[in-house]
Symmetry: C2
Subunit: 459 residues, 2 copies
């Protein structure tokens, strides 16, 4: 490829994602109107505060069509927490009369204004990021740091990089994605001087990769990607970013550099599968699929997905430990529709059945006390073979507790594995279904898209 190929692709992408003049103006007008409303509301309060627009729409790094406006209201640092919260909500409701309260570290008001999604967040006006009293107090410092360093070209490259991360499914620091946050994306583009230099660097990364723009880091981290927050020497901005998403960026950086194409930025999902499609794949693969299906616990995604993943690992380990070899696994949750959807712990097995006997190794014969205890326990009875010797150890072949994966999944032994807290309580209290083999094809109804991705895996 030549630079101009990539440049042409980037130009084409920008055509689609750069906000046009009308969009910029509409956003600026809305932000200005909201700010003015904030000051009107503040005028009625016995406290000195200011309004500050933050986030990508404050810095020109948003993608066309994003309609989020983040307005922070900075109160004096000596204000009581209760007063801050009360004033914050008062301002919030005054500015967004139809808004509703949400809760992060403080409660705040979220609402619609002129078609924009507006967050009105109270925070403390602290002298530096090391004096913050809650996590949101850091945001104005992030905003100031980036605003100082972004020019129009870099802001455009941030937009292109964010679109690229979206295209490769690596955008977002939520715990479902475990990818790159917007702030991290902006720091990386600024730090490398643009999108293409960042791609070239990422293509050659050898994790652990460390960046410390202000050269002030004091801690060491075990994460694959470490970007020390320029406003907080103790914090890794990329702490959430998984090794897989770092590898994903590396892979697609190489891919885009060697074969620049617009489609990577707007990659469609693999085709959703219907029940027949699922059955076809299972037949072709010759695996035995099993699924534990239950009502999805009513949790925010940042709680739900870690719990589902922990549960999936627990169940898969439980299967593996009992000889039901897990070939691949996944977890799905139906959180989009109305009402309570289902959640699924899905495992494709290489081995779904085991013999009636299992090998049980005892101690070495020379460890006399243990050896005599083991031998004594199995000396009599005709429900096992042995004890006999294998090398210097006793071995018996005894009845296996579970000869089928389904038997294990349907038993109380399922609760011996590590499960997410709310997953466990849901399984215990509301029960669950176990699907096996071709029956899992029924999941295509609610999870056709997820199964489509599962059976067409890509980096």
């Amino acid at each position: 490829m030549t630079n101009s190929d990539l440049a042409a692709v980037v130009a084409a992408v920008r055509e689609r994602i750069d906000p046009d003049e009308a969009e910029r103006r509409a956003l600026a007008d809305a932000a200005a109107a909201l700010e003015s409303r904030v000051y009107d509301a503040l005028a009625d309060l016995p406290v000195d505060a200011d309004a500050l627009q933050v986030g990508s729409t404050a810095r020109g790094t948003w993608l066309s069509g994003d309609r989020d406006i983040d307005l922070f209201v900075r109160f004096p640092a000596d204000l009581d927490r209760e007063e801050l919260e009360a004033y914050g909500l008062e301002v919030g409701h005054a500015v967004l009369p139809d808004g509703h309260e949400e809760y992060a570290e403080h409660p705040y008001v979220k609402g619609d204004y002129d078609g924009f999604d507006v967050d009105l967040v109270p925070c403390y006006d602290v002298p530096s990021a090391s004096d913050i009293r809650s996590a949101v107090d850091r945001t104005p410092f992030h905003n100031a740091y980036l605003t100082e360093r972004l020019d129009d070209d870099l802001a455009a490259d941030v937009r292109v990089f964010k679109r690229f991360l979206k295209g490769i499914d690596a955008y977002g620091s939520d715990l479902r994605t475990e990818g790159f946050s917007g702030y991290l994306a902006e720091l990386l583009v600024v730090g490398h001087g643009g999108f293409e230099p960042l791609l070239r660097a990422a293509a050659d990364w050898s994790p652990q990769v460390e960046f410390d723009p202000e050269d002030h880091g004091t801690r060491s981290f075990s994460d694959p990607l470490v970007v020390i927050d320029p406003t907080d020497s103790e914090r890794n901005v990329a702490a959430v970013c998984s090794a897989e998403n770092v590898a994903r960026l590396q892979h697609y950086a190489r891919d885009l550099l060697s074969d620049p194409r617009e489609s990577l930025f707007f990659r469609p999902d693999p085709r959703a599968l219907d029940a027949d499609g699922v059955r076809d794949h299972l037949d072709r693969r010759g695996t035995t699929a099993v699924a534990v299906v239950f009502d999805c616990p009513d949790l925010v995604d940042d709680q739900l997905y870690p719990q589902l993943r922990k549960s999936l690992t627990g169940v898969a380990d439980g299967l593996d430990r009992r000889g039901f070899d897990v070939f691949r696994r996944a977890t799905f949750a139906d959180t989009d529709g109305e009402g309570q959807g289902e959640a699924v712990l899905f495992a494709e097995l290489s081995v779904a059945e085991r013999p009636a006997v299992e090998r049980h190794e005892g101690p070495p014969v020379h460890v006399r006390q243990h050896a005599e205890g083991f031998y004594g326990a199995y000396e009599d009875g005709d429900d096992h073979y042995g004890p006999f010797l294998d090398g210097d150890r006793y071995v018996v072949e005894r009845e296996r507790e579970f000869t089928t994966a389904t038997g294990f999944l349907e038993s109380d032994a399922l609760f011996d594995v590590a499960l997410g807290k709310h997953v466990e309580s849901t399984l215990r209290e509301d029960g669950y279904d176990v699907l096996v083999g071709g029956d899992v094809a029924a999941l295509a109804g609610a999870f056709g898209a997820e199964l489509g991705r599962y059976f067409a895996p890509r980096p």
Copy 2:
């Protein structure tokens, strides 16, 4: 138990194994007559030599019914090897006119005399065991060492211990048994001052166990049991004894001490199985048996069994590596009958089938050159799933070469595993059969006893 219980059992065993006066006299007469024949033959030779009876029948440590007489003819140490061999055979044929030649380190003559099996072995008369010119030269020193130390009581205890080792299937330093040689058994009884003290010590052994009666050992060994030869500081008399046979002695020593009984000394084999019996066990166990059956290579046991075991390990590892989990395994050889019998590599599988796909892990994405090579190799084509990412690595799910254990065993891939030399050439040149599932029951015809032991395993 009380000592008198064990004493009573030992007394009862001795009733059955102690040679009576008539047997002793017959043996002494035969040995004397043979010795006299040796000197007659030596008189015709231009060399100075003597005859020496060695072995258990020379020391009163043989079991009633054993009919082996070992006569060594000691020639001067400065004799040429060719002359020694020629003179040795000349004496041998003169003493045993109907004898035939066998070959150990030298050729020697073996024959029948008055119902006894006689070995007439030439050796060098060296001043000490450290001057030996061949392994057989050591035997007279062993004989002298033990003869000096054995009295009637110890000789009786040696007989009891040897009978015990036979009862528990641990007697013999041949490479099929890998157990305790007669010389080792005698050293252990002499060293511990009798059968019962030896049992009590063995019950508490914690391998590696070392004895050095002459306190002259210079080398270190990795064997579980080390008994430095009193006549050779560099040699472990127990080198052949496997960890399993050391554990076996420990197990049955404890067993006999806690429950003294004559039956342990004369333990019958488990009942042989017929085809139905084999099928019943396989049905009960739910395993899938496979067997590679071929003409038994025409080798002495000391070559055959190591080759069969090596081949069995190779085949079992080959099965395991391909996901066909081996539950237990064994090798059988029909070397008793007339003509060439069959040999079998037998494996009972927990998993005899695998899916059509296998997981194939690639390099970490950050190892750029390898990663690009791997991705490039699997980027196109629809005969696999992926590449996708698992953590920081590429993974593909590709077609599995063998989806059944039988498929592997019947393929040329069988020759990729480590096989014994003559086993490999037999399989290659004469072919082999693969039996699977209930079909292995047909092996009960030639190997009913072996299968009986296999399905009634004991320490």
